[in-house]
Point group: none
Chain length 202, copies 2
DNA sequence: TATCTAGTTCTCTTTTTGTTCTCTATTGTG
DNA sequence: CACAATAGAGAACAAAAAGAGAACTAGATA
């Protein structure tokens, strides 16, 4: 449905404006407000452009209620934020101003995702190397055997394979036979996401 | 149509400019904008050059001939073809109708690329697992240490690390300590591309 | 009810942009 | 030298894009 129609110059401008100022409008803006912001004096002219954006699937009219509009966007169009570096035994080292990576649909999930750079070799036998970029789906639960981003004791973040033990404890397994699995109480471990895909540049 | 004639000096200039500054133009540039950038004062003159580039198939007019611009054709827009499966010791198993994968810029190179699915574990210690998708830059030469798609005796295709020996022979090294490196005469080995990036879904 | 507001539809004009044309200057070639 | 190929300037034109402004519609409101 993402009909990538080509926009005219002004249509792009207006879309960019809506996109960049989405937060500024508590309630979706009216045509008159937009006209003022964009320096137009005719609602009719604006309407023509908005209509084009609607046809292109970039914008949706507000449901039923008239008076207003709303913009929609997806991660596939926009890219996912690259939040920083994850190294076993350290907190995630955040990038001050996360940049957005364009990642194709087929490497994402429905739920929101973010990207991290892997530091270290703790998952090397799972084919995850130092410097790889991993795409993480934001979640606070995970199933057995999934590779997760886990926060331990609210201090250190790590990428490991998850094992939920019968007694309620949690074991985090590195995929590196020089390293040992570690077991924690459920309260000590907080799941921050699960691994959904991996990107590597040579 | 695709009149593959050689370009004049200025045509090449203009093509190079478009090529190098493609990123700078949020929307495809208008003729007036290009004139300014290129130091021309006549759209008519520009038009003659652009027309030559279109004839040469290097540039496409914006569809629908809207009051706008020309676009360079890049693989980032269209995606790269997924040609099939590469398994050590077999020819590449081609997909009848290759599908196109949208792959973000930063995982590509300037030169044409294609994607293959990796079958087998011969490169597992390089972090390349069974089922991974590799992006290959189409090339017929490679440097020492690069991971290449090599065709051996015009029969079997394989993904290995390349070693050019002093005596002119070529050694292909698997990254799997249960497998042995193999050495061939230069004539037996044909480079079909080099590894530029890797994608994996979980 | 009358009135106001905000989206829609319409006609019209202006501006922008690609195209086509002619004319001129420069350069290289036989 | 003549001649062709390349390069640019500038004018004129048609169509697309953008905008103005008025009239109309349907809800909301008083």
């Amino acid at each position: 449905m993402t009909n990538k129609m080509k926009l005219t110059r002004r249509q792009q401008d207006i879309y960019d404006y809506l996109h960049n100022n989405a937060e500024r409008f508590a309630h979706p803006p009216t045509y008159d407000e937009l006209c003022q912001e964009l320096g137009l004096s005719s609602r009719g002219s604006l309407h023509k452009h908005i209509q084009a954006l609607i046809d292109a699937g970039l914008v949706e009219p507000m449901e039923g209620r008239q008076g207003i509009r709303l913009v929609e966007w997806t991660q596939a169009d926009e890219g996912i934020p690259h939040l920083g570096t994850i190294a076993a035994g350290r907190p995630i080292q955040a990038i001050p101003q996360p940049e957005f990576l364009p990642v194709p649909d087929f490497l994402l999930r429905q739920h929101p995702c973010y990207a991290l750079t892997v530091k270290g070799e703790s998952m090397i036998e799972a084919g995850i190397m130092d410097g790889d970029l991993v795409v993480i789906e934001q979640r606070d639960t995970a199933r057995n055997g999934e590779i997760v981003v886990a926060l331990i004791n609210n201090e250190e973040a790590t990428l490991k394979r998850l094992l939920n033990n019968n007694d309620g404890s949690i074991t985090l397994i590195p995929e590196n036979n020089t390293m040992k699995a570690m077991t924690f109480e459920a309260e000590q471990v907080q799941i921050q996401g699960i691994l959904v895909s991996l990107l590597r540049r040579y």
